[in-house]
């Protein structure tokens, strides 16, 4: 009992130290598809036909703190973002350049009075399908064992035109029917669903990522694709570019005992582009969980694994993406930006492979500043206090009551002769 109470007290102390209050931000968010299209009506129309999507989003705050995002499927599915000091600053899109993959340089510029403090970009370069014959759910092991790989560059994908009127800052990039080259007959799809956030909150869907006003949450989905192998699993190759002289980009995994928002998930991963000054740099955040079923749940959950971050010195594949349009020549200037590349794979041994439901979903967030972390909620604290505290109190009082009663009785008994055998007779055992 004493140990239980002790543990409980220690736990409470732990809880109180864990809870910290972060400053809430509320930004005004405006999201437009096909920005600046009137100016370049000819080339923009052509871009629309080709599915060269661009969505522009401005999340502004009066106090000189503004975030500008561009989301694009030109070349590679890409998110770029900038932090600017003035509300008057805007992104401008040159569709004459954007319409051709080979002339992307500086197609996205930032104009207006003020300074651009920071630029950040994330692009998915490849979709990797691999035959996990030994059910290890590990890319590196599969490569060592010379397993079968089908690697598709995202450049080969074509995309459906994004909707013209975006509501609630939420939109989807869907791959078109002729997807998954070389198997063009397949009717599966790959999609990215974006939620541009302007204030604090929590996603209602699993894995229930907490968000701040400094980020965009993205749901990546591979749906109804007939896999190439019986034991197919998927992985993404992702490139991250950050305007920074510091070369310390790294992934930090934080463990938590609390899985109330995502049952069975006890970790959160942050890819920090500059861990030393994380309040002024970009991040990618995710819970290491993906789902094999549209109705996400504990039973369809599988693991997400990130591999070593590697230097991307050349990175020629990036010059056909919005990254090149946004960073321009700086993209290849090692003194101005750092580029890293890594793989992210979906799967856990014995989870039934992609073929289980022909579906995989993964949620992540791209943002700026300190990535948000869960604190143990008040509900949990109350439940724990009630569930464990009350019984402990009852037992303590019960024990006190007994001791007091015993003491009293023993003082009473001093006046009576003690008859040991009497009590034995009263309780005559009846068995045998």
């Amino acid at each position: 009992m004493a140990t239980a109470a002790g543990d409980f007290c220690m736990f409470l102390v732990l809880l109180l130290t864990c809870v910290h209050v972060s400053q809430a931000i509320s930004r005004k968010v405006h999201t437009y598809s096909w920005p600046d299209c009137q100016k370049y009506s000819e080339s923009c129309k052509e871009a629309q036909q080709q599915g060269y999507n661009v969505v522009y989003s401005k999340a502004s705050l009066k106090s000189n703190d503004n975030l500008l995002y561009a989301f694009s499927t030109i070349g590679l599915p890409t998110v770029v973002m900038a932090r600017t000091t003035s509300e008057d600053m805007n992104m401008e899109f040159d569709w004459d350049k954007l319409v051709n993959k080979s002339s992307l340089m500086d197609a996205i510029s930032i104009t207006g009075k003020g300074t651009v403090e920071y630029k950040f970009g994330v692009a998915f370069t490849k979709l990797i399908e691999y035959d996990d014959r030994n059910d290890t759910a590990d890319l590196v092991v599969c490569e060592k064992n010379k397993g079968n790989f089908t690697i598709r560059s995202f450049e080969e994908f074509t995309w459906q035109p994004v909707e013209k009127n975006i509501k609630k800052d939420t939109f989807v990039f869907n791959s078109s029917d002729t997807f998954f080259p070389p198997s063009k007959s397949d009717n599966g799809s790959v999609s990215f669903k974006f939620f541009v956030r302007g204030s604090d909150g929590r996603s209602p869907d699993l894995p229930g990522l907490k968000y701040t006003g400094n980020e965009t949450q993205i749901e990546f989905e591979i749906d109804k694709y007939t896999p190439s192998y019986n034991n197919s699993r998927f992985a993404l190759e992702v490139a991250i570019v950050s305007q920074s002289t510091n070369k310390d980009m790294s992934v930090r995994v934080t463990e938590t005992i609390d899985d109330e928002y995502a049952p069975g998930v006890f970790k959160i991963a942050d890819l920090l582009s500059d861990p030393a000054r994380k309040t002024e740099a970009g991040f990618v955040q995710w819970k290491p969980v993906a789902y094999f079923d549209k109705s996400r749940g504990r039973k369809s959950a599988t693991e997400v694994q990130i591999y070593t971050l590697e230097n991307l010195d050349e990175g020629e594949q990036l010059n056909k993406s919005a990254l090149y349009a946004f960073f321009g020549e700086d993209l290849y200037d090692g003194s101005k930006v750092i580029k890293r590349i890594s793989n992210i794979s979906f799967g856990l041994p014995k989870d039934g492979f992609y073929v289980k439901n022909n579906y995989t979903e993964w949620t992540y967030a791209v943002g700026y500043g300190e990535p948000p972390h869960d604190a143990i909620s008040m509900t949990v604290i109350i439940i724990i206090s009630a569930g464990l505290g009350l019984p402990v109190i009852i037992i303590i009082f019960g024990a006190l009551f007994t001791i007091v009663r015993k003491c009293r009785r023993s003082s009473e008994q001093q006046y009576e002769p003690i008859n040991g055998s009497g009590s034995i007779n009263r309780n005559n055992p009846q068995v045998n």
Binding site: M1, E260, V380, I395, G398, T402, V431
Partner: protein
């Protein structure tokens, strides 16, 4: 067993016949040697204890047949996971009520000997129906088979407890209960390792659901084995009654259904502990696999190993702890210790990232302590002629608790995650702890019989025997 013998068993129950005769039976030849002589203490261990342990072997073996052949069954019978789980629901849900009647029937109508034979028959017939259903690919018949099997299985466990008390009351009862627990684990472990290879062997000749049916028929062999054990045990028990002149129950003494209401308070507290403790262990193990994988990053093989630690350790440790408790006594303290340690293990699992092998090993040990200290206590407070009913009620309440809480636990973990689930289990353990402390207080107020040290218990027994001799 012949009809006449059956009849005599019933009449003997009513007539108190052995009590009256002063005739001391001579045991000649082989039956005079210690293993066969009921007066020798060796007889109690060999063969009787062995028979008691193996009485439920068939039922435990076949209970987990579906689990051992899960993938095969789903494929061969072309059923989904829900239909597969129904094989267990058809076993467990009826027993939320039925094993209470099973226990009552043992006390009231059958007697423990006939009772164990009848329930073994149910087990065997149930398994045969189950196998037939598979042989002809009739899913409904298979479910019916599991239902019949369940009627027998749970009540047979009650009969087994009653036998154990009859032979070992005041001797090594705690150890025997521990040993029974081990054997239930042995039964299901043997099944887990044997059924799939057996299936594969038959699969070389016959395929699909017919192969499955034949494998299940062979599994029914263990039930027949247990049925034979039930007959043998009945023979030895009857013989010992005759030779040792064990007291039979008079008709006035025989249990009536309303006697249940007069069961003393500690019986109900023990039942509460039984439910509140078991629901914090077994539904947890049912959901543990993913927990160990996701929270502690174990691979599926190690996660499975950690998850089955409680079963493996309890199989080895419970006879040992039972023996220890026989030596020391003080059952209520052991129960309290078992609950507190388990609570600590759940706290470690919920609030820390400590290697889960440690808390799970400790939980296995504490479960062994609790199980071997808890069940024998009932025999200390309930008179022999009501024991079957008491154990039946306990088993029924436990089945109800496990069935309901398993469902609830699944919902909780899906909605709110494992932390809240662990807190839920801890709350149950706290309830068990409160009940155990209350049990100590109530018992202390009644003279502290349950918590006597074994020294005191033996001294009392001698005193009581002396008094009996005087009375005679």
């Amino acid at each position: 067993m012949s009809d006449t013998e059956n009849a005599s068993e019933k009449t003997a129950l009513i007539r108190n016949s052995y009590e009256d005769s002063d005739y001391e039976e001579e045991l000649e030849g082989c039956s005079g040697t210690p293993p066969c002589n009921p007066r020798s203490c060796l007889h109690r261990y060999f063969p009787v204890l062995i028979f008691i342990c193996f009485l439920s072997f068939g039922s435990y073996f076949c209970y987990d047949n579906p689990a051992a052949l899960q993938d095969t069954m789903i494929r061969d019978l072309d059923i989904d996971e829900g239909q597969f789980m129904a094989f267990y629901s058809f076993y467990s849900w009826p027993n939320v009520v039925l094993c209470m009647f099973g226990g009552y029937l043992i006390d009231r109508l059958f007697g423990v000997r006939l009772g164990s034979i009848i329930f073994s028959l149910f087990v065997t017939v149930g398994q045969v129906i189950f196998a037939l259903g598979s042989l002809f690919n009739l899913y409904g018949l298979m479910c019916f088979g599991r239902f019949v099997f369940g009627i027998g299985g749970e009540s047979l466990a009650v009969a087994q407890n009653t036998f154990a008390v009859k032979w070992f009351q005041g001797k090594e009862l705690n150890m025997v209960f521990g040993l029974q627990l081990s054997f239930s684990r042995v039964g299901s472990t043997v099944n887990m390792n044997v059924m799939q290879p057996l299936y594969n062997l038959i699969d070389e000749h016959i395929h699909g659901y017919k192969c499955l049916g034949i494998a299940l028929f062979i599994g029914a062999g263990t039930c027949i084995f247990s049925l034979l054990i039930a007959f043998t045990l009945a023979f030895f028990d009857k013989r010992a009654d005759r030779i040792l002149k064990r007291q039979a129950i008079s008709s006035e003494e025989m249990i009536k259904f309303r006697d249940i209401l007069t069961f003393p308070m500690p019986t109900w507290l023990i039942s509460v502990i039984c439910v509140a403790y078991y629901v914090a262990v077994f539904p947890f193990i049912g959901l543990g696999l993913v927990f160990f994988e996701m929270k502690f990053g174990l691979n599926p093989t190690s996660a499975n190993a950690v998850n089955s630690l409680v079963y493996i350790i309890s199989a080895g440790a419970s006879p040992f702890f039972g023996f220890l408790i026989d030596r020391i006594g003080k059952n209520v303290f052991w129960v309290i210790i078992g609950i507190v340690i388990t609570l600590g293990c759940h706290m470690m699992l919920a609030f820390t990232f400590m290697n889960p092998y440690i808390p799970m090993v400790i939980m296995g040990l504490s479960y062994s302590i609790l199980a071997s200290a808890l069940w024998p206590m009932v025999a200390l407070i309930i008179p022999a002629h009501q024991l079957g009913t008491a154990y039946g009620i306990m088993q029924a309440i436990q089945n109800l608790g496990l069935a309901v809480i398993s469902l609830t636990a699944g919902i909780i973990v899906d909605k709110s995650g494992y932390l809240i689930l662990e807190v839920f289990f801890m709350a149950w353990l706290c309830l068990a702890l409160i009940a155990a402390v209350l049990l100590y207080l109530v018992d202390a107020a009644r003279g502290g019989k349950l918590n006597y040290s074994s020294k005191k218990r033996n001294a009392l027994k001698e005193l009581e025997d002396e008094e009996k001799l005087k009375d005679n």
